[in-house]
Every structure is written in C-alpha cells, then in structure tokens.
C-alpha cells in the first residue's frame, strides 16, 4: 500500500475527482472477478466427464399420441439433475468464502453476498424448471422445443450467465458486463450445427462455454493481478 494520499486539497472539482478516485480504489480492492470465472470454467469442463460417464437413467414413459403402441420415455442424466445443482451451490459457497476471507485480509468490505445468494437461487430454480420441462416434453413431445431460446437459458450455462450479471452489478464492473453479455450470447444464440446430424456432438457447446469462461477468467486474473496488494 502506498502512503501517498489520493485525496488532495482544492476546489470542489478536485474534491469530487478525488472522491471518485477513492471509490475506484475501493472497487479495485474488492474485485476478484477471475475467481468465479475460473471456478465455473472448471465446473463446466468437469461436467463433460460427468455427462460422458455418469450415464442416463430412465425416469418415466408415456404413450405417444397418434402412434398406437408407441411410447416416449423421459430419462434424466446424472449431470443434469445431480451434478450441476450440487456443483453450482458448492461453487457459490466456495466463492463467497474466498471473497469474505480476502475482504478481511484487505480490510475492505465485500459485495459478494447478492451474487452468491442469487447464483444459488438461480441454480436451484433452473434445476426445478428443467425437471418441469422434462415432464412437459413427456406429456406433449415437441423436439423443436429442445433448441428453443428459453430452454437454452434454463440450463446450467444460462444460470451461470444470469448470475454473472448480478456480479457485474455488485462489482460495478463494465468489463465483466461485456464478458457476461458475450457469454450469454454464446449460450442463447442458436449455434446448434453440432447437435444436428446423425452423430450429434454434445461436447462442443459445453467446451465452448467452458473456454469462454476460462479465457475471461485468465484475462481478469492477468488484469487484476491478485498476487499484488492493491496500491
């Protein structure tokens, strides 16, 4: 820390300018944007392994309207209904714990609580809506709905993106706003060419989501340099 004051004597303009400068110093000292991004990049990449090896389990079946003898069955994946809600809630708890510990060490309060609380609520809500959506698809099968925009938002990736918007507000961080919007665009835009065709590759979209978070987290890590104490 510097012993030089950022707060100079002077006219009202200089007082206001110095006040803004102090506010920015506090914000810089509070930010640890790299951590949630890197945590969720890791959680996203691990989900690929869970999806690949966790398996799918039969849930329930129903007769298909207009197809005598035909049945449509709903399955749930370990990743969708077990891994993601647990991983997201644990991730938010770990992120909140890190922010609070860092806040005590630096002597400046943190605004992580709204982010962690909103993130955990969104994670649980997304899981509930996904379960309801699975049931709904079972009752009225509509393959087109699988790639609809609302359904893409009600995914773990969408939940991460929505919570990042809350972190953007909490940290007053314009760079994170740009990244959050870009991430949500990648999640929401119908770039689904890899899920069509005879051998759909489900890994590609998840890997892209993970890469966006990883690159963003690395960028913030280099910009914020947490190994240095704030000036």
């Amino acid at each position: 820390m510097t012993s030089r004051s950022a707060f100079a004597e002077g006219d009202p303009r200089r007082l206001l300018s110095a006040t803004r400068s102090l506010t920015n110093r506090v914000r810089r000292a509070q930010r640890a944007t790299w951590l949630p991004l890197l945590v969720f990049a890791t959680v996203t990449f691990v989900s690929i392994l869970v999806t690949a090896y966790g398996g799918h389990h039969p849930w329930t079946c129903a007769t298909m309207p207009g197809h005598p003898g035909g049945r449509v069955c709903s399955v749930y994946s370990t990743a969708q209904f077990v891994y993601w809600p647990i991983a997201l809630v644990l991730a938010y708890a770990a992120i909140a714990a890190f922010y609070i510990r860092r806040s005590n060490a630096r002597g400046v309060g943190t605004r992580v609580r709204p982010y962690a609380v909103a993130g955990a609520i969104i994670a649980v809500a997304v899981t509930a809506v996904a379960a309801w959506g699975s049931y709904k698809l079972l009752v009225t099968p509509d393959p087109a709905a699988l790639t609809s925009m609302p359904l893409r938002l009600v995914t773990p990736a969408g939940a991460i993106g929505l919570a990042l918007l809350v972190l953007t507000w909490a940290e007053r961080n314009r760079a994170l706003l740009l990244l959050s919007v870009a991430y949500l665009a990648v999640v929401l835009l119908p770039l689904n060419f890899w899920v069509l065709g005879p051998n759909p590759n489900w890994v590609v979209p998840i890997a892209i989501h993970g890469m966006v978070l990883l690159l963003g987290g690395t960028g913030f890590l280099l910009a914020q340099r947490p190994w240095r104490r704030p000036a």
Binding site: M1, T2, S3, R4, S5, A6, F7, A8, E9, P12, R13, L15, L16, A18, T19, L22, T23, R25, V26, R27, A29, Q30, S103, N104, R106, G107, V108, G109, T110, R111
Partner: protein, 107 residues
C-alpha cells in the same frame, strides 16, 4: 433568491479526510482502519481524530475487535452518514455548476 450552495456545506463533512472516510466507507460498506490510513495518506493519530469527529456526529459506527492477536478497527457508515455524503456531493456539484455558469456574477 436561491440559497448559495456553500450554505449547504456541512463543516463536519466538508473536510478532505472526513469526506474521504465517508466516500470509502460508502463504497466498501465496511472498512478497516489500516485501509483508510493507507488510502487517505494520514497518520494513525490524525485519522483517529477525524473518526472521532464523524462518530460523535453520528455519521459512522466504529467497531473494535481482535483477529487473533491483532487489534482491528472497522468503520461502517450510518444512515445519517449516507445522507450527509449525498448532500455534500450534491452541494459540490451545485457549486461547480454555479461557478461554471456563464451568467453568474462573482461573489
């Protein structure tokens, strides 16, 4: 005739170190003595005096405790402190606006 913006300036708040304490505490919500000292560039004794003035005016709350063997002093802004800071910022802006206004006669 409207009141001159300087009439609204509060002597307790309109002081560079005390205004700095309020600005930092407002943004940080909770701030430790050492962070204030380092960022305002004042001596511990000087900062303690200013914190005393703000506490007596009811603008901040001071909480003292220990973290292990280390004594720590945390400062939080009260509701009156938030209002005083907002009023001071508004007055400073009004003052700048009045000074920069082309038709304003010199005081």
């Amino acid at each position: 005739m409207t009141a001159h913006p300087t009439n609204g300036l509060d002597d307790v708040v309109h002081q560079r170190v005390r205004l700095g304490v309020l600005a930092i505490a407002h943004e940080a919500r909770r701030v430790e003595f050492g962070f204030l000292r380092d960022n305002l560039g004042v001596s511990p004794g000087n900062l303690s005096q200013h914190l005393g003035v703000l506490e007596n005016a009811g603008l901040i709350d001071i909480e003292k405790g220990y973290e292990g063997k280390r004594a720590r002093t945390w400062v939080t802004l009260t509701k009156a402190g938030r209002m005083a800071l907002s009023a001071e910022i508004a007055n400073l802006k009004a003052l700048i606006s009045r000074v920069e206004s082309p038709g304003t006669p010199p005081d």
